[in-house]
C-alpha cells in the first residue's frame, strides 16, 4: 500500500541518486572534456528544466479548466527556439565572449557595467520568482497529500503535520539539497556540469512518467475517440470556443519572454552552453520535447474530469488517476516524475538566483566595505562567494515559502506561474534593446525595468494576496484611498479585460514606452557605447574585444593576489603562467599588458560579474587606474591635438607655397626692373649718338660762318639723316612698347599670306639691287590663308628680308625666300649665305637693341626690328624663330597657323 512514508523515502532515495549522478558527472567532465555529458542531447534535455511541476501537474489542471490554453505556455518557447538564429545565438555568443553569468549580468554589462541596474534586476528576479518557487512547493506538498489522503493508514508519520508544515519541510530539504548540489565550488564560467547531468536525467524521468500516465489513460479511456466522446457526452466543453483570444496572445508572449528571461533558463541555455552549435540541435529537439510533454495533457484532463469524483483537484489528475485505478507503482512513478520536475526547477532556479544575488548585491557591498581588497582576511573571495551563495539559496527558498504561506488558500497552480512569468517578462524589452538597439541607454533600461516592475507588482503580484489580506481585497475593490482608476485590475479605468491580459498589457506597454522615450532623451556614456558595439555587433567584429580600461603598469603581484582569491590558486597560476610563456618573460618580472589586464577582467567577470570585476580590478590597480571616461577624454584630446597639428601643417604648407610664389614673383620683378634699367640706358645710348651728331653739326653751322654751300648742305643733310634715324628709333620704341602692353588696336583678318610675301619681296628688290645681290625665290606654297594683319605681316617679312640683305657681307650675297605648308601651318623661311649668327648670340638676337656682331655690317638699325617682329608674329598666334639652315648663313622662319578650312584643304 502506497503511503506518505513510502513516497517520502522514495523521494529521498531519488535525491540521493541525483546527487550521485551530479558527482559522477562533475568528475567525468573534469577528467575528460567532451563526451556524452557535453553533447547536444544533454544540453537539450537540461533546457527542459522549463517544464516544471507546473507542466507536470498544472498543465492538466489548466487543460481541465481552460481547454487548449495550456499549449500557449509551450508554443511561445517553441517560437524562440525555432528562431534561435536571431536571439539565442546572439545571447550565447555574447555571453561566451563577455563571460556573462546571468540576466542581471547581461543587462549590467551591456549598459555600461552598471551595478545599479544589476541590483535592480536581481531584486526583481528574486521577487518575481518567489511565486514560482511557491508553485513547486505547493505541487510537491499537494502530491504528497494526495497520496496521504487516500486513507488514514497512508498518512503514516505525516499524521499531525499540516500542509504548511509539510511545505516548510520540503523547502528546507530543497535548500539543503541545492546547497550541497550547487555550491561545492565556484567555477570561473559558472558552469555546473554535474548539475546539468542530473537535470538531464530528471528530464527523461518526468517525460517518461507523464507519457506512462498518458498511455495508461488512453488505454483506460478507450483511445482518443472514447475519451473525447465520453467527455462530450458528460457535458465537458471539448471544443475551444474562446481559446484564441487576447489571453492566448498574452500567454504566448509571456512564455516567449520567460524562456529568455527566466534566470534558470538563461543559466541553462546560455551560461551552461559549452558549444554554440548545441543550439542547433536544441532548436528542434527542445520543441519536440515540449510537444511530447503536451501530447497527453488534454486526454488526461478530460478523462480525469469524467472518471474522477466531483470536486477532485484537476491539478493532481496525473497522480490521482493511476492511484484511483489502483496502479500504485504507476502512481509512484508519476509522483517521482512530478517531484523530479519540481526539484530540477528549484535547484537550477536557486543556483541562478544565488549567483545573481552574490555577484551583484553581496560582492559589491563587501568590496565597498573592505577598504582594500588585499586587506580582507585570508579566507579569500572564493569562500566569501560560496557563503553568500548559500545564504542566497536559503533566502530564495524562504521567500518562496513565505509566498506559499500567504497565498495558501488559492488552489490552481497555473495562475501562480503566470504571475512569475509576467514579472520576469519585464526584462524582455531591455534584453531585446540590448541586442538590437544601439541607442538604448542605461537610464532608459533602468527606468523601463523599474516602471514595468512597479506596474507588474501592482496589477499582478498584489492581487494574488487578495484571499489572505483584507487590505488587499479592499484595494482591489475600491482602489487605494478610494482612487478608482488605480484599482490593480482596472488601471486607468481599463475594465473588462482578463486580469492577466490587463497586467501584461500595462506593464509591458509602459515598460517599452519608457525604454523608447528615455533612450531618445538621454545619451550614452563612453563605456556604454563601447559595450553597445560589443553586443549589437557581436558577429560583425573581427578583432578582439580588447577593451581595457586600466593602464598596464599594475604590479603583477597585486593582480595575481586578486586572481588567486577569486579564481583559485590553480587557475590563477595557469593564467599568469600562460601569459608569461606567451610574452617570453620570467613569471616574476611579468609586465601586465593592457590586453592581459583586460583578459583577467573577463576571467574575473565570469566568477563575480562584470560590474564587480571592474570595481575590483580598479581597486587593485588604483594607483594607476584611470576611468574609461578619462581614457576617452584623453583620446578626444589627442584627436584634437592631431587635428590641430594637421591644420597647422596645412597652413604652413600653404604659407611655404605662397612664399615660394612670392619669391618667384620678386625675382621676376627684379629681372624686369633690371631689364627696364638696361632698356633705358640702351635707349639713352641710342638716342645720344644721333643727338650728339646733330648737336655737333648744328654748332658748326652756327659758329662757322665761312662754310661753303656744299659743305653746309652736307652738314644739314647729316642732321636731317640723324633726325630721321632718331624719329625712326623713337617710333620703333613706341611701337614695341605698345605691342608689348597690348595697347595697339589689333584686328586679325583672313589674309592671303603668299600675296603679302610677294609684296614684301617686291619691296626689297630695290634694296637688293642696290647691294648688287639677288633674292632667290625657292619652293613656294600655292596659296595660304592665315589670320593676320596684312600690313604688319608685310612689315615682319620686309624686316627679315632686308636684314638678310643688309648683314650679308660675302662676295656673292644671296637671299633665299621659300614658303610651304607643314602640319596645317604656313611657313616662310628667309635664308642668306652670309656669315651666319654665332652660337653664343643665337639666344639673344630677339632681345631689344641687340644687333649682333656682324662683321663689316653698317649699324643702321636700332636693334629693335627682330624684337618687334617677334611681338607681331606672336599677336598673330604664330612663331618667329632662328633655325639651323641647310647652308651656312642665318635662316629665320615665320610659322603662322592656317585658317581651319584652309588647313583641311591643304592636307
Amino acid at each position: 500500500m502506497l503511503s506518505a512514508d513510502l513516497v517520502i523515502a522514495t523521494a529521498i532515495a531519488y535525491v540521493g541518486l541525483l546527487f550521485l549522478i551530479a558527482y559522477v558527472g562533475d568528475r567525468r567532465t573534469r577528467n575528460r572534456p567532451g563526451g556524452l555529458l557535453r553533447s547536444p542531447l544533454v544540453y537539450t534535455l537540461s533546457i527542459s528544466v522549463y517544464c516544471t511541476s507546473w507542466t507536470f501537474y498544472g498543465a492538466v489542471g489548466s487543460a481541465a479548466r481552460n481547454g487548449l490554453e495550456y499549449l500557449a505556455i509551450y508554443l511561445g518557447p517553441t517560437l524562440v527556439f525555432i528562431g534561435w538564429w536571431f536571439i539565442l545565438r546572439r545571447l550565447v555568443r555574447i555571453s561566451h565572449e563577455q563571460r556573462i553569468t546571468s540576466v542581471a549580468d547581461l543587462l549590467s554589462s551591456r549598459f555600461g557595467k552598471s551595478s545599479r541596474l544589476a541590483v535592480l534586476v536581481t531584486v526583481i528576479a528574486v521577487i518575481a520568482i518567489a511565486p514560482y518557487i511557491a508553485l513547486q512547493l505547493k505541487a510537491v506538498t499537494s502530491s504528497i497529500q494526495a497520496i496521504a489522503g487516500t486513507s488514514e493508514m497512508a498518512r503514516g508519520r505525516l499524521t499531525g503535520i499540516d500542509e504548511v508544515g509539510l511545505a516548510f519541510g520540503i523547502a528546507a530539504g530543497m535548500a539543503l539539497f541545492t546547497i550541497l548540489f550547487g555550491t561545492r565550488n565556484v567555477d570561473a564560467k559558472e558552469q555546473h556540469h554535474g548539475v546539468v547531468a542530473a537535470i538531464a536525467f530528471e528530464a527523461v524521468v518526468k517525460l517518461t512518467a507523464l507519457i506512462a500516465v498518458g498511455v495508461f489513460v488512453i488505454y483506460a479511456g478507450g483511445g482518443f475517440e472514447g475519451i473525447f466522446s465520453t467527455a462530450e457526452a458528460a457535458g465537458v466543453e471539448i471544443y475551444s470556443s474562446d481559446t484564441f483570444g487576447t489571453r492566448w496572445v498574452a500567454m504566448n508572449l509571456l512564455s516567449f519572454a520567460a524562456i529568455i528571461c527566466l534566470p534558470r533558463q538563461f543559466q541553462i541555455t546560455v551560461v551552461e552552453n559549452s558549444d554554440e552549435n548545441h543550439l542547433r540541435t536544441a532548436s528542434w529537439a527542445f520543441p519536440l520535447y515540449m510537444l511530447a510533454m503536451s501530447l497527453f495533457i488534454l486526454p488526461i484532463a478530460l478523462y480525469g474530469l469524467t472518471s474522477m469524483p466531483e470536486g477532485a483537484n484537476p491539478d493532481m489528475f496525473v497522480l490521482t488517476l493511476p492511484l484511483f485505478a489502483g496502479h500504485e507503482s504507476l502512481a509512484l512513478f508519476a509522483f517521482i516524475g512530478g517531484f523530479s520536475s519540481a526539484t530540477s526547477m528549484i535547484i537550477v532556479e536557486s543556483i541562478a538566483l544565488s549567483i545573481m544575488v552574490s555577484n551583484h548585491i553581496v560582492m559589491p557591498v563587501v568590496l565597498r566595505l573592505a577598504s582594500d581588497a588585499r586587506a580582507s582576511d585570508g579566507r579569500g573571495v572564493s569562500r566569501l562567494l560560496l557563503n553568500s551563495r548559500r545564504f542566497s539559496i536559503v533566502l530564495i527558498l524562504a521567500l518562496g515559502f513565505a509566498y506559499f504561506y500567504l497565498t495558501r488558500d488559492s488552489d490552481a497552480l497555473a495562475p501562480i506561474g503566470l504571475i512569475s512569468f509576467a514579472g520576469v517578462a519585464q526584462f524582455l524589452p531591455a534584453i531585446l534593446a540590448a541586442l538590437f538597439w544601439r541607442e538604448a541607454s542605461i537610464k532608459a533600461a533602468t527606468a523601463a525595468v523599474a516602471v514595468g516592475f512597479v506596474v507588474w507588482a501592482w496589477s499582478s503580484f498584489l492581487p494574488s494576496f487578495e484571499s489572505t489580506s483584507t487590505t488587499v481585497a479592499a484595494i482591489m475593490a475600491k482602489g487605494p484611498w478610494g482612487i478608482t482608476w488605480l484599482r490593480p485590475e482596472a488601471l486607468f479605468g481599463l475594465e473588462g479585460l482578463d486580469p492577466l491580459v490587463h497586467a501584461v498589457f500595462w506593464s509591458l506597454f509602459l515598460n517599452t514606452a519608457t525604454l523608447a522615450v528615455v533612450s531618445l532623451l538621454t545619451s550614452r556614456s563612453a563605456l556604454e557605447r563601447l559595450q553597445t558595439n560589443l553586443f549589437v555587433n557581436v558577429f560583425g567584429r573581427t578583432s578582439g574585444s580588447g577593451q581595457t580600461f586600466m593602464r598596464g603598469s599594475a604590479a603583477v603581484n597585486d593582480l595575481f593576489f586578486v586572481a588567486q582569491r577569486v579564481l583559485g590558486d590553480e587557475r590563477a597560476v595557469a593564467l599568469f603562467g600562460n601569459e608569461a610563456s606567451e610574452s617570453g618573460q620570467v613569471w616574476t618580472d611579468l609586465e601586465p599588458t593592457p590586453a592581459f589586464i583586460g583578459r583577467l577582467e573577463r576571467e574575473l567577470a565570469g566568477s563575480i560579474g562584470a560590474a564587480s570585476a571592474h570595481v575590483m580590478l580598479s581597486k587593485v590597480v588604483s594607483g594607476d587606474a584611470i576611468s574609461l571616461e578619462e581614457v576617452m577624454q584623453m583620446a578626444d584630446e589627442t584627436q584634437q591635438a592631431i587635428e590641430y597639428s594637421q591644420q597647422l601643417e596645412k597652413t604652413s604648407a600653404e604659407l611655404r607655397s605662397t612664399a615660394d610664389q612670392l619669391e618667384i614673383a620678386n625675382r621676376q620683378l627684379r629681372d624686369l626692373d633690371q631689364a627696364k634699367d638696361e632698356f633705358l640706358s640702351q635707349v639713352s645710348h641710342e638716342v645720344r649718338t644721333p643727338m650728339t651728331a646733330i648737336r655737333a653739326f648744328s654748332e658748326i653751322l652756327l659758329e662757322a660762318e665761312d662754310l661753303k654751300g656744299a659743305e653746309r648742305e652736307k652738314f644739314i643733310s647729316t642732321i636731317h639723316k640723324e633726325s630721321l634715324r632718331l624719329t625712326t628709333l623713337l617710333d620703333e620704341i613706341l611701337d614695341l612698347s605698345a605691342l608689348e602692353r597690348g595697347e595697339r588696336g589689333w584686328e586679325n583678318q583672313p589674309v592671303d599670306a603668299e600675296s603679302v610675301l610677294e609684296q614684301a619681296v617686291h619691296v626689297c628688290h630695290a634694296l637688293a639691287r642696290q647691294r648688287a645681290m639677288t633674292i632667290r625665290l625657292a619652293r613656294r606654297a600655292k596659296a595660304a590663308t592665315v589670320s593676320a594683319d596684312p600690313d604688319r605681316l608685310g612689315q615682319v617679312l620686309i624686316n627679315l628680308i632686308s636684314n638678310a640683305i643688309k648683314y650679308n657681307s660675302t662676295e656673292h650675297p644671296q637671299v633665299t625666300v621659300s614658303s610651304r605648308i607643314v602640319d596645317g601651318a604656313y611657313c616662310v623661311e628667309v635664308a642668306d649665305n652670309g656669315p651666319g649668327i654665332a652660337k653664343a648670340e643665337r639666344g639673344k638676337i630677339f632681345e631689344k637693341f641687340y644687333r649682333g656682331r656682324r662683321a663689316g655690317a653698317a649699324l643702321t638699325g636700332a636693334g629693335l626690328g627682330l624684337a618687334i617682329s617677334r611681338q607681331i608674329v606672336a599677336r598673330m598666334n604664330g612663331k618667329l624663330e632662328l633655325i639651323e639652315g641647310t647652308r651656312r648663313g642665318a635662316c629665320f622662319r615665320v610659322t603662322l597657323p592656317l585658317l581651319k578650312a584652309e588647313a583641311m584643304a591643304g592636307e
Partner: protein
C-alpha cells in the same frame, strides 16, 4: 543557398510559425468537428507544432556555421 537567403528563410519561417498559431488563422480550424476522435483545432495546433519541429530541424542543418569568436575563451568555452 547563400547565407542571405538562408537567414531570410529562417526569418520567414519564424514569422510564418508565429502567424500560424495566432488568431485569426487559428480561427479557421474551429469547426466543432472531430477527426479520429479529436477536435480539428487540436489536430491543427499539434500538426503546426510538428511542422515547426521539422522546419527547425531542416533549418538547423542548413544554417551557415558562424566563424569562431575572435576572442573566445580558450578550450571548449
Amino acid at each position: 543557398m547563400d547565407r542571405g537567403k538562408l537567414v531570410s528563410a529562417a526569418l520567414v519561417f519564424s514569422i510564418a510559425s508565429l502567424m500560424a498559431i495566432m488568431p485569426p488563422l487559428t480561427g479557421l480550424f474551429q469547426w466543432h468537428a472531430r477527426f479520429f476522435g479529436l477536435p480539428i483545432e487540436v489536430i491543427y495546433l499539434f500538426c503546426a507544432w510538428a511542422g515547426m519541429v521539422v522546419g527547425a530541424f531542416l533549418l538547423a542543418r542548413a544554417m551557415p556555421r558562424d566563424p569562431p569568436s575572435p576572442d573566445a575563451p580558450g578550450g571548449t568555452g
